[in-house]
């Protein structure tokens, strides 16, 4: 592929980092300096969002190719290139990232008091790493961003987190690292196979790696082992049962902004990785492991929902609801049909919006009361009507009420899954009911009934800043709920392309031979 002249994607990726470095130079000894540094971070994230809108406008939905591609030599001797590109799947995840970042910066305006400058710099650096992960078209670059992301996340949880923050930060770091190191070995293997099979030298370029033929057949064939190496790394991130145990700790201990970014964007990387790497690279192994993955996804949905049900800490409940909701994403992907896949991508976006909203709301109430125990609350809706409205809407979107975004995603996933396995679809649908149960149960305990306790009576309703944080999310909930076509039309071509190896004809023609791969002209 010829190198392109546009460097819009590079700007998008590195703008937050540059902005963070500039922001570090602002002296924050005075109150006005402090305010300036917050403001600078907010403006930086908004400018990044504007750049991502430009990317959106230049994106051509008709093509499944990686667009706005950039391709420069980086470490030629290892076949590593600086390669960026965007397609219909990464486009929306990129927009989700740039959309959520200003929101989390605004949300931590008053709740973060120590080391303010470093905090915002880390959030912006994290944004760079996240965008880089979604846009990388080179396995080395992808891995670099993927691992580099851990550094700011580790500090965000470890410095600004709750009581058990150090334990949670360690667990988050080591879990992710252990999984991704195995993926690294698999990447080496693929790159080396590419060299052996083509005789062209090393390459880490994804479309090149897609052409590698790996012997398959059996649960321990090379292709299956590679599949497992990649899938475990991504399943930890998703997180898929039984690799989810880092998530409750990290989510609960992280500061609100950290939880929002974790739930809103970082978990999506697992799903994105499955679509970008696992599906095109290992079609035979995916078909082989389809049923176990679907079963694990269903278990995750039910298990996450049941555990969420018995939580007394609101934030923990939201954390376990993530396990449950991300289970749908795995189901949608491994249903291996366009409906399920579209649902999976859509569900990632919806979960990004609704769970972020829930974490923000929990954070707001925690800032006021410094507790998250459900029993400490009661009848909040009478004292904080605006808060109650926002809470209700976000909650119903999370519980997938028709008319909200959550419904579209889960409905399409179940529809797709029905075509693959009706039994599992029935079980997964049970999870939808359970989801409504624990969420409404929580709402009732916290918000409804008579106002309990003097402290609860004195609670202030949402401030203007908090309204500004929530309104974009509420708009997104309804926009995505009523007009899904707007979102689907940009992703459809890419989704179809990523499922080419799984189309009926491809399956029929041969098992060992890969027929077509996305972005392969």
């Amino acid at each position: 592929m010829a190198s392109s002249t546009s460097c819009l994607l590079s700007w998008l990726v590195f703008l937050p980092l540059l902005w963070a470095l500039v922001g570090l130079c602002i002296p924050t000894n005075t109150a006005s300096g402090l305010k300036l540094s917050k403001l600078s971070a907010l403006i930086g994230s908004l400018v990044t969002f504007a750049v991502s809108i430009c990317v959106y406008q230049q994106f051509d939905p008709a093509s499944a190719q990686a667009q706005l591609a950039e391709n420069h030599a980086w470490i030629p001797s290892l076949g590593v290139g600086y390669r960026l590109g965007i397609d219909g799947i990464s486009l929306w995840l990129v927009l989700l990232t740039t959309f959520l970042t200003p929101i989390v910066i605004l949300s931590s305006w008053e709740s973060v008091e120590k080391k303010v400058k470093a905090y915002y710099a880390l959030i912006l650096a994290l944004e760079t790493a996240m965008l880089g992960t979604f846009l990388a078209m080179d396995a080395f670059l992808f891995y670099t961003f993927w691992e580099a992301m851990l550094i700011p996340m580790y500090f965000l949880v470890g410095i600004w987190g709750g009581k058990e923050r150090i334990y949670a930060a360690m667990k988050l770091f080591l879990y992710t690292m252990a999984g991704s190191l195995l993926m690294l070995v698999a990447i080496f293997y693929l790159a080396y196979q590419y060299k052996l099979q083509t005789g062209l030298g090393y390459s880490m370029y994804l479309p090149d790696l897609y052409m590698v033929k790996i012997p398959s057949g059996g649960y321990l064939a090379p292709q299956s082992l590679l599949f497992l190496a990649f899938t475990i790394a991504f399943a930890i991130k998703v997180p898929l049962f039984p690799l989810h145990t880092w998530l409750p700790d990290a989510h609960v201990q992280a500061p609100t902004a950290g939880s929002v970014i974790l739930a809103g964007v970082l978990l999506k990387m697992g799903g994105y990785g499955l679509i970008r790497f696992v599906l095109p690279l290992f079609p035979d192994a995916v078909r082989l492991y389809q049923t176990p993955m679907l079963v694990l996804g269903t278990v995750a949905i039910t298990y996450g929902a049941l555990i969420a049900w018995v939580q007394t800490d609101v934030k923990k409940l939201v954390a376990y609801s993530s396990v449950s909701h991300m289970g749908y994403v795995v189901l949608g992907i491994f249903a291996l049909n366009p409906t399920g896949m579209t649902g999976a991508v859509y569900q990632m976006l919806c979960h990004g919006i609704s769970t972020s909203g829930l974490f923000l709301l929990v954070g707001m109430i925690y800032d006021r009361r410094h507790t998250r125990e459900m029993s400490d609350f009661g009848g909040i809706s009478k004292v904080m009507p605006l808060f109650a409205i926002a809470f209700m809407i976000i909650l119903l979107s999370s519980a997938a009420l028709p008319g909200t975004n959550g419904f579209i995603g889960e409905f399409m996933i179940l529809l797709g899954l029905w075509q693959t396995s009706q039994v599992l679809a029935a079980f997964a649908a049970l999870g939808v009911i359970l989801g409504a149960v624990y969420l409404l149960f929580m709402f009732q305990k916290v918000m409804l009934g008579p106002v309990t306790g003097d402290e609860n009576k004195r609670l202030k309703d949402l401030s203007l800043r908090e309204v500004a944080v929530l309104v974009p999310l509420l708009i997104a909930v309804f926009w995505m709920g009523f007009n899904p076509g707007f979102w689907f039309k940009k992703m459809q071509t890419s989704i179809d392309a990523s499922l080419v190896p799984y189309s009926q004809s491809a399956v029929a023609s041969s098992n060992a031979e890969k027929v077509g791969t996305p972005w392969n002209p």
Binding site: W74, F140, M170, A178, L181, L182, V185, A191
Partner: protein
């Protein structure tokens, strides 16, 4: 032995080419002699003149080595030494390490009331030993270089002579190190007995000519030599001495041992090993047996080094165990070298990066060390970032790099090393290695937790003290290199590729057939 093609008349029986190659050696030797002379005048009141002389000698050595990198290989002293790109790179690495240690240790020595000029002279002499080792193709020369290096370091380890731990470390290192040297010497004798020469390259060729692929004497000799090397790089099961020695030695000396000394031993091992492999001197069965020995040693070294480091509470001791773990990674690369497409360049790259990041880390540790090398418990580091944000940041970058997190050079180096091992078909060893790295991440992160996530303990020794400027400068330079080589390693990789390609035995390592 050498072709006589040069017009200028040879001086001291050496050609101009050979003289040019020996200049860096003269610089270091001259520098140490001059420093010894100066010491006489400064015995009571040491000034900056001795370290300055030594550093100038090192810089002179580096400056005269640089133009030699591209020069064709030259044999010196009747084939006892070989001077090639590989030697040049190695020498630059040793000199940089020695210069940096000299640079940042003065303030440390003043703080500890240890300012004796002999310290610098010993560093220079040990650097000279390393330079001789790296150029040797002859077991006698290897032994000479090794002993010059080791004896200087034995003294340096026990340099805090009023401290029992330092004394213990010095004695321990001396006794065990001598035993290892003896084993190695015995191996050299057996090698000579089998082949009739002490030159490894000539010996390897003779071995193949005389069909000694299975010769017990030769195999036993090589095994003894290998054990000597494994002892010096502290690979399991010859690692017992290391934690005590590293903990007892003054911090800058520990830094010197993990960087220059280790690099020297490893580079020499690389040369001997590749001479044996590229010929190949041994029968396939014997070769496989050697590879199995290395495989087991690499696996155990990585595993035990990392697991033992988990429990350490002293940062110097922790870095000692981490150094054992890194020896294990290096052995993986060494094992894979002959069969991977890039030969040994991945190992060389790793040695370079490891030297840089360890130098930086020990510069910071030396700056932190209080009198009697106290203040190095992990708890003493709590809240360092609040008092000294710069120092904490520098240390954090080195720790992330050692843990192999992008975008630091530690990641690039590990990436290249493990990639080359995959090419050699060592998939399971690499899987083990990455799992060990994941274990390793824990103890590096634990230090970062202390630096950034805990509050300073009241009355900690770090409350009122200013870090030495020289140490911070060294660490800063190392950080710049670590980040630069992490983000854009292409030029360095290209440069290092030149080195080993022509280096050992003057022939490229055997190109492996595809799998």
């Amino acid at each position: 032995m050498e072709p006589i093609t040069l017009t200028p008349p040879p001086a001291f029986g050496l050609t101009a080419q050979q003289l040019a190659w020996l200049t860096p050696y003269f610089f270091v030797l001259g520098g140490s002699c001059l420093a010894l002379l100066l010491s006489v005048y400064e015995a009571t009141k040491p000034s900056i003149s001795v370290p300055a002389t030594i550093i100038l000698a090192f810089l002179g050595g580096i400056a005269t080595t640089l133009p030699l990198i591209e020069q064709p290989p030259t044999l010196l002293f009747g084939g006892m030494l070989i001077a090639d790109g590989f030697t040049a790179y190695a020498n630059i690495l040793f000199l940089i390490s020695a210069a940096a240690v000299t640079f940042f240790s003065r303030r440390y020595l003043l703080n500890q009331d240890l300012e004796h000029t002999e310290f610098y002279t010993l560093i220079a002499l040990s650097a000279l030993g390393m330079m001789i080792m790296a150029a040797s193709t002859d077991l006698v020369m290897i032994f000479l270089g090794l002993e010059l290096m080791s004896i200087s370091v034995y003294v340096l380890v026990g340099f805090r002579r009023n401290d029992r731990r330092s004394n213990e470390a010095g004695i321990k290192y001396y006794i065990l190190g001598s035993a290892a040297s003896a084993v190695m010497l015995y191996g050299a004798a057996l090698f000579f007995g089998a082949t009739g020469t002490t030159n490894v390259q000539v010996g390897a060729i003779r071995a193949i000519q005389m069909g000694m692929g299975q010769n017990a004497l030769l195999i036993a000799g090589l095994l003894c030599i290998l054990i000597g090397f494994l002892f010096k790089i502290a690979s399991v099961p010859f690692h017992m001495w290391m934690p005590d020695v590293y903990e007892g030695a003054p911090a800058p000396v520990t830094g010197f041992m993990t960087t220059g000394l280790k690099a020297a031993v490893f580079i020499t091992l690389l040369r001997v090993f590749s001479s044996m492999v590229s010929v190949p001197a041994l029968s396939p069965q014997a070769m496989e047996a050697f590879q199995n020995v290395l495989w087991v040693s690499a696996a155990l070294t990585m595993f035990l080094g990392n697991v033992a480091a988990l429990q350490q509470t002293n940062i110097k001791r922790m870095l000692a165990y981490s150094s054992i773990a890194h020896s294990g990674y290096l052995l993986v690369g060494l094992l894979a070298g002959p069969q991977s497409h890039d030969g040994f360049s991945a190992v060389l790259f790793y040695v370079v990066i490891y030297t840089i990041m360890n130098l930086g880390a020990f510069a910071v540790v030396s700056a932190i060390a209080q009198k009697g090398d106290t203040g190095l418990e992990l708890n003493d580091l709590s809240g360092l970032s609040a008092k000294h944000p710069g120092l904490a940041f520098l240390l954090a970058v080195f720790l992330f790099s050692m843990a192999g997190i992008p975008p630091t050079a530690g990641f690039t180096a590990k990436y290249y090393l493990f990639y080359s091992a995959i090419q050699a078909g060592q998939v399971w060893l690499v899987v083990l290695a990455v799992l060990c790295s994941a274990i390793g991440a824990y103890y590096y992160l634990r230090v970062i937790v202390q630096l950034y996530m805990r509050e300073a303990i009241a009355g900690s020794p770090l409350q009122n003290w200013k870090p030495s400027r020289a140490a911070v400068t060294t660490a800063l330079a190392a950080v710049i290199l670590v980040l630069q080589l992490g983000i854009y390693p292409a030029p360095a990789l290209k440069m290092l590729r030149l080195g080993p390609a022509e280096a050992p035995a003057g022939g490229a390592p055997a190109e492996a057939p595809g799998h």
